[in-house]
Symmetry: C2
Subunit: 349 residues, 2 copies
C-alpha cells in the first residue's frame, strides 16, 4: 500500500496548547506523524512516497477564500501588528449575537479580530510554518486520492495537521484545511460519481459534516464520542441527518464512554450498512486513533486488535479506499494502531 508523506508537517510545530483552562504541551505535535512514518517505514507492506503539488484551487473550492488568504499571512501579520510570539492564538471570538440586530458584519481590520473571525477555539496555534504545513497536508490527501483514482485498491495519506474540524469558514480543533473534504469534493466534482467520507476519529468531524450537509453526492458517516460529553459539543448528534438535497446523507453514531471493541464494531457495522445503501464509487476514511484505550484526551476503549477488525470490516465493502490521518494522541501506540487498521483493510479489500 502506498503511504503519502511529506516532512512539510514539521513546519507546524506548536510548543503550547491552550485547553481546559490552562496552557500546556500540545497533544497534537510533530512526533505523532513521525511515529506513524517510522512504524510504516519498517513494514514491507507499505511504500512511502512524496506528494505532488496541487495548488490552491482544490482548497478554495471547499473553503472560503478569505480563510485561505488569512491563514497565508496571519502569523506574520501578528508579529508585525501585535507582538513577537512563537504561537498565535485568538482570545476573542466573533459570534453573531455579539452584534445582535447590527447585521452580520465584515471581517475586522485587526489581526486579533481576524483570528476570532476565522477560528472557533484556542487549541490550534498558528506557528511560522503552519500555512505551508497545512498546504502540504492537502497535497498528501489529494495525492493519496489520485493513487486510488489511478487504480490502486487503497492508499494512506499521512496528513498532519489533521482536517476534519475545519468548516467552510472556520479553522480549529488542530485543523486548518479539511483534507478529507477537499479530497471528497475533488473526487465528486472530477468523476461525477458519489463519495462517502467515513469518519472514525473520536471527535465528531463537524467540518466535514458542515461542508457536505446539503449535498447528495457526498455522504458523511461518523462514529464518535457523544457530544453531550465530548468535543466539539455543538455538533455530532444523531438527529443531524443533513438538510435540503442532503437530507439522509449524514449519519452520526455517538458512542458512550468506555465503548469496547465489540460494541464499537456493532456501530461500525451500522455505518457500513448505510454506506452500502448509499453505494459510493469511492470511500474516504478519516482515521483517528484517539478511540484507543489509553488515549490521553479521550474516553473510548478500543485495542490494537480492534483496529485490525475495524479495517477488515471497512475493507470488506470492496470499495476503492483512501485512508487519511486525523487524530490520535497516545503517541507510543499510534504507529502500531495505524499499521493494524491498514493491515485489516488490506487483508479484506
Amino acid at each position: 500500500m502506498k503511504v503519502v508523506y511529506t516532512p512539510a508537517h514539521l513546519l507546524h510545530n506548536p510548543e503550547v496548547e491552550i485547553e481546559r483552562s490552562s496552557a500546556h504541551s500540545p497533544f497534537e505535535h510533530s512526533g505523532r506523524a513521525e511515529k506513524i512514518r517510522e512504524t510504516l517505514a519498517s513494514d514491507s507492506t507499505f511504500d512511502i512516497v512524496a506528494p505532488t503539488a496541487w495548488g490552491i484551487d482544490p482548497i478554495t473550492k471547499v473553503h472560503n477564500p478569505g480563510l485561505v488568504r488569512f491563514l497565508s499571512t496571519a502569523w506574520a501579520d501578528y508579529q508585525r501588528d501585535i507582538k513577537q510570539s512563537r504561537e498565535v492564538v485568538p482570545d476573542i471570538f466573533f459570534k453573531s449575537n455579539l452584534r445582535e440586530r447590527m447585521g452580520t458584519g465584515q471581517e475586522p481590520a485587526s489581526v486579533n479580530g481576524k483570528l476570532g473571525w476565522w477560528c472557533f477555539e484556542t487549541t490550534t496555534p498558528l506557528t511560522d510554518g503552519t500555512y505551508e504545513a497545512a498546504r502540504g497536508a492537502v497535497d498528501v490527501a489529494l495525492t493519496a486520492t489520485q493513487i486510488v483514482l489511478d487504480g490502486a485498491k487503497s492508499s494512506y495519506g499521512l496528513c498532519r495537521p489533521p482536517g476534519h474540524h475545519a468548516t467552510t469558514d472556520l479553522y480549529g480543533g488542530y485543523c486548518f484545511f479539511n483534507n478529507a473534504a477537499i479530497a471528497a469534493h475533488h473526487v465528486a466534482s472530477t468523476t461525477g460519481s458519489k463519495v462517502t467520507v467515513l469518519d472514525v476519529d473520536y471527535h465528531h468531524g463537524n467540518g466535514t459534516q458542515q461542508i457536505f450537509y446539503e449535498r447528495d453526492d457526498v455522504q458523511f458517516v461518523s462514529l464518535h464520542g457523544d457530544p453531550t460529553r465530548a468535543y466539539p459539543y455543538f455538533t455530532g448528534y444523531a438527529e443531524e441527518t443533513g438538510s435540503s438535497k442532503g437530507l439522509g446523507s449524514t449519519l452520526n453514531l455517538p458512542l458512550a464512554a468506555r465503548t469496547q471493541d465489540d460494541a464499537y464494531l456493532q456501530s461500525l457495522e451500522r455505518a457500513v450498512e448505510s454506506i452500502k445503501k448509499f453505494a459510493p464509487s469511492l470511500l474516504i476514511v478519516s482515521l483517528g486513533l484517539d478511540t484507543f484505550i489509553t488515549d490521553p484526551i479521550c474516553d473510548l476503549s478500543l485495542t490494537t486488535d480492534g483496529y485490525d477488525r475495524c479495517g477488515a470490516l471497512v475493507g470488506a465493502l470492496g470499495l476503492p479506499t483512501v485512508v487519511l490521518q486525523e487524530g490520535g494522541y497516545d503517541v507510543n501506540a499510534l504507529g502500531v494502531n495505524v499499521q493494524s487498521w491498514l493491515h485489516g483493510l488490506a487483508r479484506t479489500s
Copy 2:
C-alpha cells in the same frame, strides 16, 4: 458624594488571564478596586456606604436567565465534571456558522460546551466566588442609582467586576453582568423617563450597545479606541447608530491612538451635545480610566488633570449622574484618576 462599595468583589480573584497568545497575571484583579477604595476613603469629599441587596430580578430583565443560571453553577459544575481548576476558561466557542444550516441549536449538555455557548473570549476566568462578586457589583450599581433617584446630584458605584462588555446572552471582557445596563433599564422601566449611558472606558461597551440597540428610551454614547485596532474589534464603529425604534439613539466616537486631553475633550463635547439633544432625566457614566497615558493595555494619552476636565464637562450637563466603575489597569494611578474625574463632576454639577 456617596461611594458604594462591597468587599464581595474580593471573591472574584483570578490569578491567570489567557490573552494575546499566552497565560499571564491578570490585568483585571482585586487590587484595582481596593486602590480606588483606599484613595477615596482618604478624601473627605467621599462617604463610603455598603450596597443593599436587589435580588436577581433586575438582572434577568436585561440578561438571558440561562446566562444567569449558568454563571451561578458553572465553576462548581466544572470542578465536578471536567477537572479541579482554580480558574475556569472556555476553549471552544459556539458560532452559528459552526452549525450552518443545522438550525441555531440548544445550550449543550457539557459544561465545556456551555462555557463556549455563554462566553465570547478567554480573558474572563470564572473563580470560586465569581458569581457572588458579579451579583455584588449589580447591587453596587443599583444602590448608587437609588441614591440619585432619591435626590442626590451624583453618586459613584465602585463596581468590580466591570460590566459593559456583557451582552444579553454573553459574558466576557472581564464582565459578567452589565451593571450599567441593569441600572439604566431599572431607571427607565421604574420611572418611565429617558436615560443616557455615557461610556468613557477605552474599550467599546459592546454589551450596553447591544442591549439597548433597538430602544428609544435609553441612549448609548461611547468614546473609545477605534475598533479597527482596539478590542472588541467587532463593534464600536461610527456607522452603528441603532436600529428600529432605537435608530439614532446610539453614538460611537472612535478615537485614534495617542489621543491627548484636548482632542479627547473635543470628542467628549460632541457626546455632551448629543446627550443634551436626547434630554434624558438621568445620566449613567461607565467610567474607565484605561484611557490613561500609562495604561498597560491601551493606547490613549489622557492625564489626571484631563480627567478632572472630563468630569467637569459632564457635570455641566446638570443631570442627576450615577458614575459606575468599568476598566483602568494602571493600578498605581487608578485611585487618583477616579478621584480627579469625580472632583471635576462634583465641581460643576
